[in-house]
Amino acid sequence: MTLHVQLVDFDLARALVDAAPIKAGEKRSLAAAAADITRRWFRDRDSSHPHTMPLGGARSHYWNEAAKATAWRTDDEGFSVVVAQTGVRLHMLGGDVKPVNAQALAIPARDDAYGKLPSDFPRDSLHVVIYKNAGKAALVGPTPSRRPLFWLLKHVTINPDPSVLPSSTVYFHSLMYRLSRIRSRQESAA
């Protein structure tokens, strides 16, 4: 799901707008600056988060992809940062994920399942095992392995993580600085 942050609705950013009416060109520059702050934040997050399954092959670099998917737009109300990347909103706000097209979610249990679906493995090489004592089910294989490859779950709960985005204070101070630089240059030119 796309995350859409309308900065003008942050209290501090509102103060910025109220302090001095922002011209259309300034608004676009501020929007680009806000997108840039967000991209840098995502890239830092990507480099500071280790590979969840280091033996599972190439990392997906999810947060770096989120940085690539980050853009800006303006409207009459102000400006927005758009992150057109599936799952960012879920990471930020948390939520319950349930299977839609299958009976269960398949969650990688081993490195070799990282970034893969059960369909990436030969159909007859996997089988369902139910661990009654633990109340769990798993896809086990590929044959002859008896270790769980994917856990089969009826739902997964993602906890909210406000650190997905920079705080409004980070945005505010960066944007105030940007606005002051734009205006001081305009004054010098005049």
């Binding site: 799901m1 796309t2 995350l3 859409h4 942050v5 309308q6 609705d9 942050f10 259309a24 060109g25 300034e26 676009r28 520059s29 680009a32 600056a33 997108a35 840039d36 991209r39 840098r40 890239r43 990507d46 480099s47 190439a58 990392r59 997906s60 670099h61 770096n64 940085a67 690539k68 998917a69 980050t70 853009a71 800006w72 737009r73 927005s80 758009v82 057109a84 990347q85 599936t86 799952g87 909103r89 930020m92 706000l93 349930k98 299977p99 839609v100 097209n101 970034g115 893969k116 679906l117 369909s119 990436d120 940007r178 630089r181 734009i182 240059r185 010098s188 030119a189």
Partner: protein
């Protein structure tokens, strides 16, 4: 404020909308001979003559670039893309040769599908970022950009990129690789002849904005300079995506390469580029 309704990255989506399918039996090296302006308007993959397969690839890339229309259970990702593309190859009766199986030449391999999907998505996002950076006011405030370090699993060496940077005629700014956004060297840095990433097959070197103060400190621009924004040729004449090789695209190829041959809509041969 977080909005409950998803919003797309419009400029990235727009770069997908102008593309038409180009089934071809040509190799990657041959396709590189097509002008960048034509490649920007086509969805193709080396030695993929199957329209159905390309169409599916095109939809998959579109769904990743613009997830705003997807409902729970419809979100696209690379593993699902792999499943769908392998199904379409099976429908076409495709089987890799014994030598090619599992390699980048095998259309059903993990590495080939990753490359096809990732490059398609990256070109769209790369263009989107480029287009946004060319807004005249944004360009004035952020006139330059930095080539970021690679995050590829097996990156090319720093020396490789330093050499390529110099060969492209981009400015020497010390350890940092920074140049004006309008520097024609960006076109030369890219093996695809495009001013935005990806700059090479599998390249994971992206860009970040450099503001006016830093660009002036680096001597790239003086305080009184105002850069002229650029736009890609297709941005002026957006046309709808077409499900088959469009006559427009065929005509554009024949205009620059009159000897190009299409067999049942599949590009099978090209000749030298008209000067």
């Amino acid at each position: 404020m977080l909005f409950s309704s998803p919003v797309p990255f419009d400029d990235a989506v727009r770069s997908r909308e102008v593309r038409s399918l180009l089934p071809t039996s040509l190799s990657s090296a041959d396709l590189q001979k097509l002008p960048a302006e034509i490649r920007e308007r086509a969805t193709f993959s080396a030695r993929v003559p199957y329209v159905g397969h390309l169409s599916k690839l095109d939809r998959i890339i579109g769904m990743i670039v613009d997830p705003s229309a997807a409902q729970p259970g419809q979100y696209m990702n690379e593993s699902l893309a792999r499943k769908l593309l392998r199904e379409s190859l099976a429908d076409e009766g495709y089987e890799p040769s014994e030598d090619d199986a599992g390699t980048i030449k095998d259309l059903s391999s993990v590495s080939r599908i990753h490359l096809q999907v990732q490059m398609g998505v990256d070109f769209a996002r790369g263009y989107g970022r480029y287009a946004q950076g060319m807004d005249p006011d944004v360009l004035n405030e952020f006139p330059a950009q930095r080539l970021l370090p690679s995050i590829a699993e097996h990156p090319r060496t720093t020396e490789f990129w330093d050499e390529r940077w110099a060969e492209a005629g981009l400015p020497d700014t010390g350890d940092d690789l920074v140049a004006l956004k309008t520097d024609p060297g960006w076109f030369r840095l890219s093996i695809f002849g495009l001013p935005y990433p990806p700059f090479d097959f599998g390249s994971e070197r992206w860009l970040e904005d450099v503001d006016r103060d830093e660009a002036e400190d680096l001597g790239l621009i003086s305080p009184e300079d105002r850069l002229q924004a650029q736009c890609r040729p297709f941005a002026d004449g957006m046309t709808a995506n077409l499900p088959i090789p469009s006559l427009d695209l065929i005509e554009a190829i024949l205009n620059v390469m009159p000897g190009a041959t299409f067999e049942d809509g599949v590009l099978t041969q090209i000749s030298r580029l008209l000067s």
